[in-house]
Amino acid sequence: MQHTIIALVEDKPGVLNRIVSLFRRRNYNIKSLAVGPCETPGVSRLTIVTDENDSIRQNLVCNNLLKLINVIEVEDVTNVPTVIRENVLIKLQVNAANREELKNIARERNARIVDEGERSMILEVTEGVGKIQATIDILRPYGILEIVRSGKIAITRGDNGSEIKNGVVGKGTDSSRATEQVNNYLY
């Protein structure tokens, strides 16, 4: 089963490397990964889709992510009401004979035509608005030149902001705890 995880991480050099290295090291499979800045300066937001059947191992994915010093919050949103989107750009071979047919297909599949060349056409499909895989399957016989997918991005529904405090796994926000340990956490 696929799981969707949202992670907020410090925007520092090498952080993505740490995350990817972790997945490889612990033998977890990444299906897709999307990264970008979020509403807080200095914080990046990741949406990671994993392919992990075992629920215990899935929980360990989250805990392992949290263990990284630069990872601030992690939430597994697989079973939470969420808006999920993924974009794909498909470049097609087009000729005079099938151009109109392809435009019709695009309309039916909720795909946008974002570029038209003499012998090509680029369609954009958004998962959730249209269906990416079904559209690709339909278009394949016409001759697909290139496909690029953005990876999934996810945002939870409801009135709460992005402070992921209600997550399955949460780090808590008691910032005094770490400093408390400076003096008293010796042998």
């Binding site: 215990i56 360990l60 705890r177 770490a178």
Partner: protein, 574 residues
Amino acid sequence: MGKENKEMTGAEIFWECLIREGVEVVFGYPGGYTLPIYDALTRYQDKVRHVLTRHEQGATHMADGFARASGKVGVAMATSGPGATNMITGLATAMMDSSPIVCVTGQVPTSVIGTDAFQETDITGATLPVTKHSYLVSDIRDLASSIREAFFIARTGRPGPVLIDIPKDIQNAKTEFVYPTNPIILPGYHPPRRATGEQVSKALELINEAKRPVILAGHGVLISGTSNQVRELAEKGNIPVATTLLGIGSIPDQHPLNLGMMGMHGKAQANHAVQNADLLIACGMRFDDRVIGKVSTYSPKSKKIHIDIDAVELNKNIKVDLAINADLAVVLRQIIPGVKARKHAYWTRKIKEWEKDADRRDILNKKTDVLIGAQVINKIWEGTKGKAVVVSDVGQNQMIEAQYYGHDEPHTHITSGGLGTMGFSLPAAIGTSFAVKDREIWVVVGDGGIQMTISELATAVQENANIKIAIINNGYLGMVRQWQQLFYNARYVETPIYSPDFVKVAEAYRMPGYRVDKVEDIIPTMRKAQAHQGPVLIEFVVEKHDTVYPMVPAGEPLHEMVRRPHAQSDAKDN
């Protein structure tokens, strides 16, 4: 501090920061890209002692041994490239055993990073899986805060190694030095503290209702300084304690509730108790495969409480009924007051029965013409009154040390458990000698392991480290030979190992060296070694084909131990 707010080089700031972290000794090896730091050392030599090692791996193990013996952060230094890559084994060793060390590496100047410059290695990249965290300092203004954070991260939470990579131009750059005094804020780092009220009451319910409980004490007990609390919990609830290899010392060896080490080469009574328990209280341990044997048959009748500061360890190898992600010291304070006194009459009787079935007595009473490793360790225990810090290596020597040297106090048993790093013991003991001044320090090492880091004998002599090195020489890579004997039809492929004349090696390094091959010579030779202030090497020539028993073959149920074949007949002699 008159030096505050003064313009300083990165190299000077480095030493200033180390001194503020309380560092008094560092273990290292200089090179092209740490020259500025070493040059600046001339101005700090009254405050920090630098120990020149013979290999960077040795430096990391020394820092590790120092850290485990003292509870302070150990520091190792190396140059870029090969110096840095030589540290990887030491970092991995410290990572597996949660040892707080900070490793500092030089790096090529920032202007040429990524160009395959001379002695350039992406060491923060290479060490990613074997460090708790790492820093590549790319701005002089980040240097002081990076060092401060590195020490903080190394020693807090679940301790571990942190690497700081400092390019040469950063070491030479100048800036006004202001030591940060604000609290360290790492938005993604909050080691847990307390158990919830619900967890405490659930734990108490399980503990007070248990009829056959066992406490499993791991390295976390020593790290969190809770050996007294664990003992209190054990005594209050009359609960026997089994330890992991790294948990040895968390309860006195002769304590009536001590079952001894469990696992692959654990004591029979410890393994039987774990398998028959109705409650396991796992404290600061991680259910390593060497401890659990076959997962599906592990302690099948028990409820399990697991307390660990690292959430990742909970439900990783063994599914538990109550997982508490918190600081063991705090949890035990929360739990102990509610623990009720219990007799556990049946359980106590049962454990007494299993105790009679020990391998220990058999081998010690064995009459042979050749020395047996177990006898040597037993004599070392006797000759040090059980009070020494023993740093063991890896393999048969490590297991017989764990079985036959009764450790009574925390931090007196140092060994590479998780990674099983051969060659660890000699450098780790040298590091230990900078932390431990009031006890004897003994190294127990095989003829294979000693040859992996034998160059550090020079460091031991140079520093006059007061360590006594016991080489248990059986002419084999003994533990691998044992597996070949038991599981590969005794085909001893590449396990017989040629060794130099160790006594002459000692002589060549200008230290006393002795060879012992008779039981009656062990104590007198030890006395000579103990009388000498400084390193001494003793080679014990032991039975070549001795095997460590009991043994749970890898992946087999914990109670199905292979026992010493002559156990029954020898027991009758006693």
